[in-house]
């Protein structure tokens, strides 16, 4: 008697605990092994890029909050930098420092979420996630203190930032920065000495540096594969060229490396915030610009290193107050495109962990 197995189709999502949003993977499986997979996106499409063509540049900033809703500050920063370069707006130095502080705080918050959900995907019953949420909460409190919102901050403006942080912001920030390193060590201890976690993540979802570059991976996914590429070093914006920090790089390119790179990046972000806090000058926090800013006709591509990698904004101006074309280069979408290569031939459990390590945000993928 011979037994033959027959491939079958499993729909993961749109409602599934580990798709990190409304997003669907159609997996062709043979037993527990994945033969092929298709990613189907678009459930969260809100037509942001088209809507943006009807609004002024400043009115478009809230869209960037809602594209990558876990890294609103970085999105704000990316759009503002692009518009400032398009319209030749000067940014006061104090505003640049404030932008760096908030972007790095956002990076820590976002990485806490990414690593926490990754460990949850590996099966730890949300304990690391909730520990990492503790510091994320404090960071969101700082955001709330400054701009009134926790998630969709809408804080950056063209030519600076919207508000000066209140006086109680600075002691709270110092307290947070002082306790962050030991908190991060705590998370590291909680997870990285765990044999089960290592067995689940080591040599899983490997992507070589060559494939990573060919697939134009960005952010921790790219650095996890061992490519030392970080826009904050390669093409410094704001005041990153004055900051002293390291770029952590993985060795194999597996899930574990991506996890460790994120963890180390939060340590480096703490360093950057501390330096920016010390060096921040007095002065105005924004330049006044006309309400309906009319840049000269032309096009621009501005990019920043967001928590998920290069967040780019391609803008075309026709001289009117609204952009003629508004395009977001979403790191999540491009990182996600390599999931097929990483997960083919692996077990279902590995695919879930690999997806978790890519740290996608569906709001940004579908826009």
């Amino acid at each position: 008697m011979t037994t033959a197995s027959e491939p079958y189709v499993l729909n993961i999502g749109p409602q599934h605990p580990s798709t990190h949003g409304v997003f669907r993977i159609r997996v062709v499986m043979d037993g527990e092994q994945i033969q092929d997979l298709d990613m189907i996106v678009g459930y969260l499409h809100r037509s942001m890029e088209k809507l943006a063509e009807e609004r002024t540049y400043t009115q478009n900033i809230p869209f960037t909050d809602r594209a990558d809703y876990l890294a609103a500050m970085s999105g704000n920063l990316g759009l503002c930098l692009a518009v400032e370069r398009l319209a030749d707006v000067e940014v006061p130095e104090r505003a640049s420092y404030l932008r760096v502080i908030f972007a790095e705080l956002q990076r820590i918050a976002s990485h806490a979420m990414a690593n926490g959900t990754l460990v949850s995907d590996a099966g730890a019953w949300q304990t690391p996630l909730l520990y990492m949420f503790r510091e994320r909460e404090k960071i969101l409190d700082l955001f709330e203190m400054t701009c009134g919102a926790r998630l969709t901050t809408n804080y950056m403006r063209i030519g600076g930032v919207a508000f000066e942080p209140p006086p109680e912001f600075w002691p709270a920030l110092r307290e947070l920065v002082d306790e962050l390193p030991q908190r991060i060590d705590e998370y590291a201890q909680m997870v990285q000495g765990n044999e089960i976690f290592i067995a689940r993540t080591r040599n899983v979802g490997i992507i070589s540096p060559e494939d990573a570059i060919n697939g134009s991976l960005v952010g921790p996914a790219l650095r996890g594969s061992g490519v030392p590429w970080d826009l904050r070093k390669a093409e410094p914006y704001c005041v990153y060229d004055r900051m002293d920090f390291e770029v952590p790089v993985g060795t194999i390119g597996d899930v574990y490396d991506r996890y460790m790179v994120r963890l180390e990046e939060t340590r480096q972000s703490t360093r950057i915030i501390r330096q920016a806090m010390e060096a921040i000058p007095e002065g105005p926090h924004k330049t006044d610009i006309p309400l309906a800013l009319r840049p000269e006709p032309g096009e621009i591509y501005g990019r920043v290193e967001g928590p998920r990698g290069e967040t780019g904004f391609y803008l075309v101006s026709d001289g009117s107050p609204a952009p003629y074309r508004f395009h977001i280069r979403a790191p999540s979408l491009i990182n996600l495109s390599l999931l097929r290569e990483m997960a083919r031939g692996a077990a279902l459990s590995d695919a879930v962990v690999t997806l978790g390590s890519l740290d996608i945000v569906v709001g940004e993928i579908d826009r």
Binding site: V9, L10, H16, P17, S18, E32, V119, S120, D121, A122, G123, A124, W125, Q126, T127, L130, Y131, R134, D141, M145, P167, E168, W170, P171, A172, G193, N194, E195, I196, F197, I198, A199, R200, P209, E210, I213, S225, G226, V227, P228, W229, A234, E246, V247, P248, V249, G250, T251, Y256, D257, M260, V261, E264, I280, A347, L348, S349, D350, V352, G356
Partner: protein, 487 residues
């Protein structure tokens, strides 16, 4: 940040636990705030409690309770007395003596209702304990809204589940879909039968009790398989396939672990196993550490608890075999899972931790309380593991069973068999014989657990987890290659 105006520093919202301490003060501060009258009343109650205890102690030492029906340390005596009384009832029914029938059925009903109501009560309080403890592990508060300290939350949950509609997926086999939530309850209840709660307090003191427990607990796989198959859902099918594979693999280490218990104690009767441990003043956990580990770990696989909860791995296959169940049918699956955790705790206590005995203390404290405490301790370990560990992958779990646990278990059985025959022939005091065996077994286990892992090629860099390296230059592929050359 020059001079700062004098403002009230905004209190950053702390964790729920910290917030509680801020609002109510620490326990010591709460005690200091207590009014004087309350302290006096508390002191009177405390002293009265001590006096009452001294009175009980006097009666117990006096031996006046021993074997009497009102000896509440062992409810078996009361049942025995009831049976004697019932046997004297006159009359016949259908050619049989009424007294004999009553003497059989009434104690059976009382015992059955006793065990079922204990379990029902535990299912309610257990889910509250689990959620509160998990919350403490995760710096949350847990359920605290319904009733005092959220104690009525399980009742509210049960009510909610009963009100919900039970959906049947299109294409499901209706009959088979209805059966499993009921079927899975049967082995979970039956397995409690032979467990001794006190010296004369076993519901079903079978002479093959251990065999009965092993066979009954393995029955639940049928219900799980039915549930997965009849749901007409790939997630459910995957979950039940995983369960079946896991159960088949882990039955063997469980049986081998219990075999070594039988070899030492020389009996399959659970009360005899407990009595052996009480007689020798030795818990089998010390004598058979590897069997304890095997039994406990394999049980987590049998009852779907972390780190082996792959059958209902939430992040992968949603809820596994009961994905399609809703309402109280899903609630039954969850309840059985909880009850099985306590059952495993009770079995571990009986086989390895001295059951209802506690080095002579069972003379004073009712044995069923001791067993309950030990079982709850086992349950606490399960909750602890659930809050701490990630989940294995199915192939890792299978490898662990077949390559690691089973060979080591066989070696363990061999070792225990040799020791048992030595103990039978060696005419030395038991303390020397078993003291030697304890030392030998613990040392061998500590050595073998590590050495066998290395022998089958398992080398994990846990001591020194790989750390990311820091790039000195920024660049693309060329920089990556040079980095790789350096590393």
């Amino acid at each position: 940040m020059s001079e700062q105006p004098a403002i009230v520093k905004r209190q950053l919202p702390a964790t729920p636990m910290a917030r509680q301490i801020i609002e109510r003060g620490t326990l010591r501060e709460q005690a200091a705030r207590m009014p004087f009258a309350a302290k006096v009343i508390g002191a009177i109650f405390g002293i009265g409690f001590l006096i009452a205890n001294a009175g009980i102690a006097y009666i117990v030492v006096d031996g006046r309770l021993d074997g009497m029906w009102y000896d509440f340390r062992d409810l078996g005596y009361a049942i025995e007395r009831l049976r004697v009384e019932l046997r004297t009832v006159d009359g016949t029914i259908g050619g049989q003596e009424l007294g004999a029938i009553l003497a059989y059925w009434v104690p059976a009903l009382i015992g059955g209702i006793g065990i079922l109501s204990f379990l029902g009560g535990f299912l309610l309080i257990g889910s509250w304990i689990e959620r509160r403890l998990l919350a403490r592990f995760q710096i949350r508060t847990g359920p605290n809204r319904v009733g005092p300290y959220g104690l009525l939350q399980p009742l509210a949950d049960a009510l909610k589940l009963m009100q919900k509609e039970v959906l049947i997926p299109a294409g499901a086999d209706r009959m088979l879909f209805y059966l499993p939530p009921v079927l899975i309850f049967i082995p979970a209840m039956l397995a409690w039968g032979p467990i001794p709660w006190a010296e004369n307090m076993a519901y079903l003191d079978l002479n093959v009790g251990l065999l009965y427990v092993v066979s009954i607990t393995s029955l639940s796989v049928l219900a799980v398989w039915l549930a997965g198959w009849s749901s007409n859902n790939h997630y459910a099918l995957l979950g039940s396939m995983r369960t079946v594979a896991m159960m088949v693999s882990y039955e063997i280490p469980i049986s081998l672990a219990l075999l070594s218990v039988v070899l030492v104690t020389g009996s399959l009767r659970l009360s005899a196993i407990v009595a052996w441990q009480a007689d020798h003043y030795l818990w089998l956990a010390l004598l058979l550490p590897f069997a304890l580990f095997t039994f406990f770990f394999s049980s987590t696989a049998e009852i779907n608890r972390t780190p082996n909860d792959i059958a209902e791995a939430e992040s992968e296959i949603v809820a596994g075999f009961h994905t399609e169940y809703s309402g109280m049918k899903a609630g039954l699956f969850l309840a059985v899972e909880l009850g099985n955790a306590l059952l495993t705790g009770a079995l571990v206590a009986t086989f390895f931790l001295g059951g209802y005995t506690l080095f002579g203390l069972e003379e004073w404290i009712p044995g069923y309380l001791i067993l309950g405490a030990k079982a709850t301790f086992g349950y606490f370990i399960f909750i602890w593991l659930r809050a701490t560990l990630p989940r294995f992958r199915i192939d890792q779990l299978m490898n662990f069973a077949w390559k690691y646990l089973i060979p080591l278990s066989i070696a363990n059985v061999l070792l225990v068999a040799i020791e048992a025959s030595i103990a039978a022939r060696w005419d030395a005091p038991a303390i020397i014989v078993y003291g030697l065996f304890v030392i030998v077994n613990i040392a061998l286990t500590a050595y073998a657990v590590r050495a066998w892992a290395r022998a089958i090629g398992y080398a994990m860099d846990v001591e020194q987890p790989a750390q990311p390296i820091f790039a000195k230059t920024i660049g693309g592929l060329k920089a990556a290659r040079s980095l790789r050359g350096e590393a």
